[in-house]
């Protein structure tokens, strides 16, 4: 393993914590141009993940789980486009992190948002959606590697928490980037406006995760064994 990969792997968890802190500090100190600066920061935060994925020289077949899961997530987001809030994306990304590790999970989440926004519209939100969804996959990988996420209901509860976290990060970014002189009322108003959406998304994730929580890891394990990945 080369040095860049090692360095970026150490930086990754730091960045995951640092980006939200920078965003909140920017809002707290009421510094100008929050929308632009936070978007640039999110782009910067994505680089160590993509660089380490790029430099780790994976074999072609090791890229395939990410490709397949990401395209399934994008197709799922497209199929469920008419239904508001309920999407299988978070469930699939959680499964990606759980079965293939934290880096794969991050890349699955980030790429799923990047590619699906080609259909749903790229915007200033793209880097933040990529970051938050990547974080979901990364956390699933970390929690899964400690052998925590085995029982059906613990996976489902984890998925629900991740859906709420994803919504919370994006709502917070809306406040930081687009609300000037934010006070308690406007902050509350934004969270309340997003609440129904986030709760529906969490419930949808639970509904998708409960039936696949056992079958998918088993299936992927079988494939991994069969193709010696």
């Amino acid at each position: 393993m080369n040095r860049i990969v090692c360095a970026t792997r150490i930086v990754q968890p730091v960045i995951l914590v640092a980006l939200p802190v920078v965003m909140l500090l920017w809002a707290w100190l009421r510094l100008p141009n929050a929308a632009l600066v936070t978007s640039i920061c999110a782009c910067v935060a994505l680089t160590p993940f993509f660089v380490s994925f790029e430099k780790s020289r994976r074999r072609a077949r090791d890229l395939m789980p990410v490709v397949v899961l990401t395209s399934l997530a994008v197709a799922g987001r497209l199929v469920f486009a008419p239904v508001p809030a309920i999407k299988p994306v978070i469930a699939i990304v959680v499964m990606g992190g759980l079965c293939f590790g934290r880096e794969e999970g991050f890349i699955t989440g980030a790429l799923a948002m990047l590619v699906s926004n080609v259909f749903f519209g790229q915007g200033p939100w793209t880097p933040w959606q990529m970051f938050s969804m990547g974080l979901v996959g990364y956390l699933a990988g970390v929690t899964g590697s400690h052998g925590r996420l085995v029982r059906r209901w613990s996976v489902a509860a984890f998925g629900a928490a991740m859906a709420l976290l994803y919504g919370f990060i994006l709502d917070t970014w809306t406040i930081v980037g687009f609300v000037s002189n934010a006070n308690a009322t406007s902050v509350l108003a934004t969270y309340v406006a997003g609440l129904a959406n986030n709760v529906a998304s969490a419930m949808g994730t639970v509904v998708f995760l409960v039936p696949i929580a056992h079958s998918w890891p088993r299936m992927f394990g079988r494939i991994r064994e069969r193709y010696q990945m």
Binding site: L36, A60, V67, S71, A75, V79, V179, A189, I223
Partner: protein, 286 residues
């Protein structure tokens, strides 16, 4: 291929233009700059796609823009001219102005992104970043190929299951169970298929050396000229726009709008897709 000469320019020039338009658009709420950005992005989108898609894009932006505008004007007590107060709500003229400016800024950026989607197609993106990030750009193009394939596969899985099993229970539970089974089948099938694709790629030498790329875009004299002008305009804007934006304040009272050269340079910079058409004067066939 998007309409207009601008889309035929080297992707690096297009990318720089959009970075400048979106970056500057994001960094000020000065009303004149916001209005210029809105008008230019709207005009470019109409030019690229026509009126009807333009109106559709505007329609999808409206809820977000209105939400942000209201959020900024309804809950903000920093202005001096209060017109209405009720409990937590305090509406002042300055807050309303700020809400309109912030909504306009967001609308302009969204319209620029819509233009970006039209001009910077995926091949140009891959061309720009493909050599720097070979693995990731390969994955992005594979994913774009796999998404429609997943949908088509899903349909054929659905058809064969319908033929085998016959009458479905149409309850919500049954639909969910079918959907989950479909996703599982697609994931397993896709995984096995893609591993074979990967093996075949490796057998043909994928990853054995650095990737080369078929160069579709040439760097002509016009790219030099437009790039130079763009950079000059961007530098001029960086000075003029930030000076004007710094001098302008919404609170406690909305300052008056002073005339500035910055408006001209900003309009010229954002008008790049239009003035590059002057090339047709010399080369009408272009």
């Amino acid at each position: 291929m998007a309409k207009g000469l601008f889309a035929t320019y080297h992707p690096a020039v297009c990318m720089l233009f959009f970075l400048a338009a979106i970056g500057f658009g994001f960094s000020t709420q000065h009303p004149v700059y916001v209005a210029l950005s809105c008008v230019m992005s709207g005009a470019f989108l109409v030019y690229l796609r026509g009126w009807r898609p333009f109106l559709r894009t505007v329609g999808t932006c409206v809820p977000l823009v209105v939400f942000v505008g209201l959020l900024n004007s309804l809950f903000n007590a920093a202005g001096a001219t209060v017109i209405w107060r009720w409990g937590p709500f305090c509406v002042c003229v300055e807050g309303l102005c700020y809400g309109v400016a912030m909504g306009g800024m967001l609308a302009a950026v969204l319209l620029w992104f819509a233009c970006y989607n039209e001009v910077m197609t995926e091949d140009k993106f891959t061309y720009l970043f493909g050599r720097r990030l070979p693995t990731v750009s390969l994955m992005v193009s594979m994913i774009s190929r796999w998404v429609p394939r997943m949908v088509i596969r899903g349909r054929s899985v659905h058809n064969s299951q319908e033929a085998l099993i016959g009458g479905y229970d149409q309850s919500r539970r049954g639909t969910l169970r079918r959907g989950v089974r479909m996703a599982t089948v697609l994931a397993g099938l896709g995984m096995e298929d893609s591993i074979q694709t990967a093996d075949s790629m490796s057998a043909r030498g994928y990853g054995s050396t650095t990737r080369t790329s078929y160069v579709l875009f040439r760097w002509h004299v016009r790219e030099h000229v437009v790039l130079g002008l763009l950079v000059a305009l961007a530098v001029a804007n960086a000075m003029l726009l930030f000076a004007d934006a710094g001098a302008f304040a919404f609170y406690p009272l909305v300052s008056s709008v002073e005339p500035s050269w910055g408006y001209a340079t900003y309009a010229l910079m954002l008008g790049t897709p239009f003035w590059v058409e002057l090339e047709r004067v010399r080369r009408p066939w272009a």
